[in-house]
Symmetry: C2
Subunit: 352 residues, 2 copies
């Protein structure tokens, strides 16, 4: 006997972050860090999990295996440029790829609310199939659960993936050194903005579309050419470029300097972010990768990126400076400097 | 702006199984099969996924890798004998173990509802840690998402796991042949009954407790002794022993004969199932494994099981008969025979 939803009051707003979970705990910002470092790692921590990488890397008889998982709760489930199925495949493949792993297979877990239209489920499954085919990766196992109407918001998907890291691949913040350049493969902020516009301002006409796309092919091309001249890769999803660069500065110990004038941001993204009261740097991407590259190899890396459909607008956006203060600094267009901080909480709930 | 839940009517009941998802699509019975074979496999199918095993098995440089995933939505989140955290670790480890794989690592995805008490989350994380330690497996990666109050029922967990299958291990319904015996490691039905009693009849006092326990150690002991004399293993979770044996008969092509008098069912389980109007054979277990074993090796397998804390009540419950009709038959206590069918739908929503 499932109890019907009879709550006729507005949903409560939870703000006490110590005794209850709040939306901001899932935002990929400082409160997420607090939850992970304060509640999860003291209980589940070990030398792999504690690294908090996009994938857990396990030594194995023939090299290293990477295991990655992400839950996807994006709302609405369909938005300009993508849908929850495409995001669920892409996000996990990209987490494996930025770990230097070649994806071997995906696992797919669906949590469906009773009453979810079968036509929507089929649309999402078609999108999963198309995205997996685009990436050349197969779904090898899965699970489906159904909960009562009102016990989930339509559909939640969790995707896990396993991949193999070739022997000799050295990637991680410990290899990031002063003088290396930071490259991104194209314009930022467009996934989060497209989802937020669709949800909050559905009547606004915008050409913005989510950038959601699997990057394993592009990353394989880069590593084939540049090898260990690429020292670090990460996809700026929740927390955006700001969260990624603040984390990288903390982890590598040096200063990360971003050049505002070089950041690839379309005018439409600027406009949308202003309307929504957001900073483009904080906004999630689902088809972008930030690479730290030895300066001498940057030209070759850019050449490879520019030849790939998903890297045509790749640019250098900054560099690693010698200061050992673990800060991320933005050099602004008018010559100013400001510290870039990880977003605090949940400006963007349910963006992926 | 998350819309508040303002639905003041009873939840609708969905019964049209072609245009909408209904609870029974998640029950592990025939409607789940319909969803998987009719909607999912035509879109995502491949030679690994199509086998519909507990884990997807991928050939790899040094043998085979197994990847498994399961979503856990059990309600209530705590019940006699366990909680959602223990189930989430156990279920995935057991899926790897029955595939013949030694677990290498787990990935953990949490979907939390805003307002979920932090103390409950910590209880669940402690349980995850304790269960993982009991099984000797580590959580190597994870993800946390938060959705609005009313957009999830407290906590949903998805666990994925990866494991290695030793070279030369032959396990699967294609190795199941007439004359082999079926063994189960102890009393059945107790997980589902304990959860249902807690949810539906919280005032009823019962000694029933969930059997939830990781079986990788017990299974490793058995395989060390019996090797490929064990031809098939599976854990009777959703769909229960009935679902498992009906599936096995269909997959191996022979008749599976169960001996009702031999089935290990505690009197308390009989009573509880009668109160709830359920058949113990249909009910989910979370600490049981059914093994098909060459008759000559059955004694050795039982000896090993009896020496393990989780196998002390192991018994032979049936055998594979030579008829090639793919039926599962129950020989009743009074000498009758009946066909055991896979449960149709969702007698037991949100049991795991």
């Amino acid at each position: 006997m499932i109890k019907p939803t009879t709550d006729s009051l507005p949903a409560p707003t939870f703000t006490d972050t110590t005794s209850r979970v709040v939306l901001a705990h899932g935002g990929g910002g400082q409160l997420t860090d607090d939850l992970v470092s304060g509640r999860i790692l003291p209980r589940l921590g070990n030398n792999i999990l504690n690294q908090l990488l996009d994938a857990g890397v396990m030594a194995d008889a023939s090299g290293a295996l990477a295991l990655s998982i992400d839950g996807y709760v994006v709302q609405p489930w369909k938005f300009p440029g993508g849908d929850i199925g495409r995001v669920a495949v892409t996000g996990t493949i990209n987490d494996l790829a930025v770990s230097g792993a070649n994806p071997l297979g995906l696992a797919l877990s669906l949590i469906l609310a009773e009453g979810f239209p079968m036509a929507n489920l089929e649309y999402i499954l078609d999108s999963i199939a198309a995205t997996a085919a685009e990436a050349g990766v197969r779904v090898v196992t899965g699970d489906t659960k159904v909960v009562g109407h009102g016990q989930a918001d339509g559909i939640y998907i969790t995707t896990a993936g396993v991949g193999r890291i070739p022997a000799g691949r050295l990637l991680g913040p410990q290899y990031v050194m002063p003088g290396q350049l930071l490259i991104v493969n194209g314009p930022i902020g467009e996934h989060g903005l497209a989802v937020m516009l669709e949800r909050e301002m559905p009547d606004v006409q915008s050409v913005l579309r989510s950038d959601v796309a699997p990057l394993n092919g592009l990353i394989r091309d880069v590593l084939d050419v540049a090898g260990n001249n690429v020292t670090f890769m990460r996809d700026p999803t929740r927390g955006g470029l700001a969260g990624l660069c603040a984390d990288l500065a903390r982890q590598c110990g040096f200063r990360v300097v971003l050049d505002e004038a070089a950041l690839p941001i379309r005018p439409e993204a600027h406009h949308a972010a202003e309307m929504l009261g957001l900073d483009v740097l904080d906004i999630a991407n689902e088809g972008k990768v930030v690479l730290a590259v030895e300066a001498a190899a940057a030209g070759r890396v850019l050449d490879v990126l520019h030849r790939h459909p998903l890297g045509q607008q790749a640019v250098v956006i900054g560099q690693i400076a010698p200061e050992t203060d673990s800060l991320c600094e933005l050099r602004t267009v008018i010559g100013g400097r400001r510290v870039v901080q990880k977003p605090y909480g949940e400006q963007l709930p349910r963006i992926c």
